[in-house]
Each structure stands twice: as C-alpha cells, then as structure tokens.
Symmetry: C2
Subunit: 348 residues, 2 copies
C-alpha cells in the first residue's frame, strides 16, 4: 500500500507552497484565481483528500455534531437522526451518531468517547441523565441540546415535549369521548423512561376522574418474550392477553404505535370492532397506523422536526455564540382521535 497523499504532494504538484495549497482547497482568501484552479486540479489528479486529524488538531476546531440516541430498532430515532442529517446538509457540519441501547452506562461511555472527538455540539436524547453524565455535558464546553423530553431540568437547551402531559392529554381526550374502562399495554418501561412518563400522565388524568387502569400488561409478565418478537407481534399477543382477561375494556392505551398497531391486528383478526367495541390509543403517529386510517388514536410527535430544530439550534449557537432561538422549544404532540372523533367533534 503506497503512502497516502498529503498536502505537500498537492503543493508540489501544483508548484506552490503547502500553505497556498491549504488555502486554495479550503476556499480561504489570499489566493489568486489561477493558483486556486491549479491546486484543485492537482488535488484531483493525484487523488488527494484531506486528513481531518491533522486539520482539526491544528485548527482546534471540528465540524462534528455528536448525536446520541437510545436505539436504532425503534424507527423513531432514525427519523430524528434523519432530521438532523437534513438540517446539517449544506452546512459544513456533520453528524456523528452514537447508540446507547437505553443503558445509562453505555450512554456515559458513548458521550466520553464523543467528547474525545471534540465535537462542535451535542444532541442527546432524553433529559434524565445520571449526575455523572450531566456533569460531562456541562463541562463539555460546547452547545448541548437535549431532545425528546422536557420533563426535568435541561443541562442547556432542550427541544421536545412533556411525555407525562402527552399521556395526560390523550387520556382526557379519550375520556371525553365517553370511554371509561381503560387498559394499558406496554413493555420495556424500566428502560424506556419516556414511555413510563406517558403512562403516569395517563394514570394521573384517570385519577382526576376517579378512575384507574382496569388492567395493565407491561411486559414484566412473562406472557411475551419482548426480545424475540417484533413490536407489532408483541402488541398483538399482549392485546389478546389483556382482552382475554378483561373483555369489558373499552379502551387500551399502548406505550407506542407499534404495539397499538399489533393490537389492532389482533382485533381485526378476532372480529372485534375498533373503535366501537374497544378503542385503541398509541403514541407517535407512525406511518404504520395509516394502514387502517382512523382506527388508532395517537399523539403525533414531530420527530424529524425535533431533529431538525436541534441541529439548527446548534448551528445558531455556533454562529452567534448565543442561542437566539431560546433555550426551550416545545413541540406539543397533536392528538388524533381518528374515528373516535366523529362522535363528538372533528379536529382537522
């Protein structure tokens, strides 16, 4: 393997100094038009591409934005990442992704690792990092945006919405359509803190009306092996279970749309009329529920937009060295009741 081309090679080929070559390639000023072309031509000819290590080390500056998400299997996070990528397209900045598997320890390590790359900014999912991790973020010395959750104390900027409120709100909306006997189906609540918050919010709304979940399946039952099956499949089975135990339920709140959709699949296969016999409510507003439009109530979250905004906020902060956008952005989920809505009122 032959030696990699360096800037010196380009400079030599173009007949200029390293410095001029460097400036020409970066579009810096103080280079004549002829030399710009000469250098670029030379670079292309010998197949030169820069060395970020040298560049970043020397300039004490990177174009990296660290993005930490808990999971890749939940489509929601790739969508957030996609938003970030879009917002950064065309800028000089570039996202770097890290996955934590919902594990605080892994999260800490991932962040440490990212910081060793001296990113220009950080986007981190969630707001409930343990103290040590928070400290890391605080001391990072770069803009930090926490996303997807605002129930807590942000380290710096924060974009998202309140999950407990989201749970609360859809509970109220469902209650107002006349539903009374609620069940809950979820899984991985021990790790997915935000889903747990939604459940709590839902419960608190029920309590306001003197109600409580008539039945709960949260995956701590061994009824379903959460890891062996897809979310849709789990939702289907858990729904079968809960409706078997409590056929009188008139509404089931799921921890997300995938599970809810699984629930719908069960109901359709079992000939259960949704939403008249039992209403189903999920969370996120995923594309999947468009398969049977209006059947599943949900809270539509602006995932991609959150990613975009987070990236833009970092950009702003870097450019103006102070966030002009404000430190907190709330993108309240929009409740969609689907067919449930026609009996009472009709939003959108």
């Amino acid at each position: 393997m032959k030696r990699r081309k360096t800037l010196a090679d380009v400079a030599a080929a173009a007949g200029v100094s390293k410095m001029t070559a460097s400036r020409a390639l970066r579009g810096d000023k103080d280079v004549s038009q002829t030399n710009i072309e000469r250098v670029k031509q030379a670079a292309r000819e010998i197949g030169y591409y820069g060395n970020q290590f040298a560049s970043s080390l020397s300039s004490k500056h990177t174009d990296l934005i660290g993005v930490v998400v808990p999971s890749l299997s939940n489509i929601v996070f790739p969508q957030v990442m996609s938003g970030v990528t879009d917002a950064l397209k065309g800028t000089l900045l570039q996202p770097v992704f890290g996955v934590t598997d919902y594990d605080p320890e892994t999260e800490y390590e991932t962040l440490r690792n990212m910081l060793s790359w001296r990113p220009a900014g950080l986007i981190v999912t969630g707001i409930d990092q343990p103290p040590e991790t928070r400290q890391l973020l605080k001391d990072a010395g770069v803009p930090v945006v926490q996303i997807m959750d605002i129930d807590g104390h942000p380290v710096d900027a924060c974009i998202g919405f309140s999950h407990s409120e989201a749970g609360h709100d859809i509970a109220v909306a469902l209650f107002e359509t006349g539903l009374r006997r609620f069940g809950y189906v979820g899984r991985n609540l021990d790790k997915d803190l935000r889903a747990a918050k939604r459940k709590q919010g839902f419960q608190s709304a029920l309590r306001d009306h003197g109600l409580a979940f008539a039945d709960v399946i949260d995956g701590s039952d061994l009824a379903v092996d959460a890891t062996a099956h897809s979310a849709v499949e789990c939702g289907r089975r858990m729904t079968a279970d809960i409706l078997n135990r409590r056929p009188d339920l008139d509404c089931i709140y799921f921890s997300n749309d995938d599970l809810a959709f699984g629930g719908l699949c069960h109901c359709i296969a079992a000939g259960i009329d949704v939403p008249r016999k039992v209403a189903l409510a999920g969370f996120n507003g995923l594309g999947i529920i468009e398969g049977f439009p209006g059947k599943i109530a949900t809270s539509r979250t602006a995932r991609k937009k959150i990613g975009k905004l987070a990236a833009r906020m970092i950009l702003e902060t870097l450019e103006h060295s102070t966030a002009e956008m404000g430190k907190l952005h709330i993108l309240k989920p929009e409740i969609s009741l689907g067919e449930l809505a026609v009996t009472n009122d009709k939003p959108d």
Copy 2:
C-alpha cells in the same frame, strides 16, 4: 471556557513525563505499577480525556469503521447498522455512519469525507457504485466490505445475496402454488437499484413460463405522491389502484414488505380475501407483517446478521491482515409463503 486539559497537564499532576503518562493511560508496557496508578488518578482528578485527533494523527491509526447506508427511513438499514454496532461492541473499533439518500453523488462525497477520517475499514451498501466511487474504495487501502447485494463485481469482500435471484425464486415459489396473473407494485425503482433487480428477477421467472406482469405500478405514475406518505400508506393506495384496474389479479409482488403490508390493509378493509382471492408477496420479512401472520409471502433477509458479519469480517481482516472468512458470504433469503404454503407443501 477554560483551556482543555492535555496530557501534559496529567503528566505534570502525576509528576512524570508526557510519555510515561501516555503509556500509563493506554496500558502500554514499560511503566511501573505505582506510576500507572499515579497517572490514572491524576487523569481522573483533573477530568482529562484524550484527544483523538492528536492520538490518531501521531499513531497513524484509528478505531473507526465507516458504514455507508442509503437511507435511515427504511428500517432495514438501521437494522444493519444495529448489527454492525453489536458486532463492534466490546472491541476497540467504533462505527461511524453516513447516509447517501440513494444518491450516487452524495455517496461519493460521503465516502470522500469518511476517508478523510482515515477509517480502519469500510462497510458500504450496494455493489453498483459508479467508477469514480469504486476507485475511491479500491485506493482506500483499508478493508472494504460491500453489503446487501452480490449481483456484480465486488471491490473486495462482499456479504449479502442476489436480489435478482431473490425475485426469481419467490416468483417460482408463487407460481408453483398455482398463481398465474401477477401484478407488480413498487416505487423509487429508479433509485433503489436492488428493488429493481428483484423485479427483474421476478419477471425473468415469469418469462420462463411464458408469463409477464399483467399490470405494473412503480410510482412513476403520479397516482401516489411517494414522498408525502408512509410506505404503508402508499402500498395501500397503490394496491387499491392496481386492483381497481385489474380486479382479476391473483397475486401482487411488492417491492418490499411495507408496501405489501399496505396492500394487505387495503384488502382487509375492502373485504378482499388474502391470499385466496389475491395473494400478496413482499420482501425482507419485516416485523410489521407479523401483524397478520401468514398473510403475506416474503423473502426473509438476514439484515442484522449481514451487518454483524460485515463488521466481523473487517475485524478478522484487521487482525490477521488477511480475511480468513473468505471474500464472499451469501446469506440467501428464506422464502416464507405463509398461508399459501398449506395448499401445497409446508416448509418450516
């Protein structure tokens, strides 16, 4: 913002030289036990974490594995990424992801950019890169694994399967269950070359029996705005369209499971018996089709495993400086006919 801690600070705090501190932190040899502890203690106290730029520049060595995927919105690729991440967990290597949006130009730029990080290895989706991009991969001087497709000439190692064969095989399987009037529903075939290959393979199998697609919707029709809706929603609408035009179809081949599932949703809502009135076939074996087990025929691809294998192959190559695993791994998709199978034979 105070100056970042450097190795020199650690060394000073520990009362040793930079070099000794460096060795101690990296677990290199030639350091006394007492000094190892002294240095590590000092590093912890002043909150030191390394500078990858300096480290990698000096050692001419990185722990990065570049992973290039075409999209984040198609759940398949996050799953591949997830496989890579898993396989790399516990090693010193670390994945860095890049997204191309199915655009060759973006792919080229993404790769150039990755190479400027001097990765230790590259995992690239697809095998049909344009010449210039291929050259980049060839000259990279690091192990390159192309994944997800083997229909073509790999640059180096290659893990995946033949899409045209996959299309061909499921066509044969479907034909053997007695189906004869086939329709095709897909979208983005201009960009998703692998989907196009499956379609071709399917067609060639049909030709072998003197058949052809009775009708094709590939999204070039303006019937559905491909970008405005989810894949499931698109599948639903396109299926409605094609069955409206050709109610006599007895099987529809979709470019993937999302679309196929949308098709199933339409059929269920419209009271069309699947698979007896019309059979549906997709591709990938996504979790989503477990919502109605057995209803959709599909080819189950080992996406996560492909990611894992690719990462492991890079590891192997780096360790032994020669791939012991062989340069080509074919993970042939497993055909699942679902309910169609019971009429003829029963696999699994």
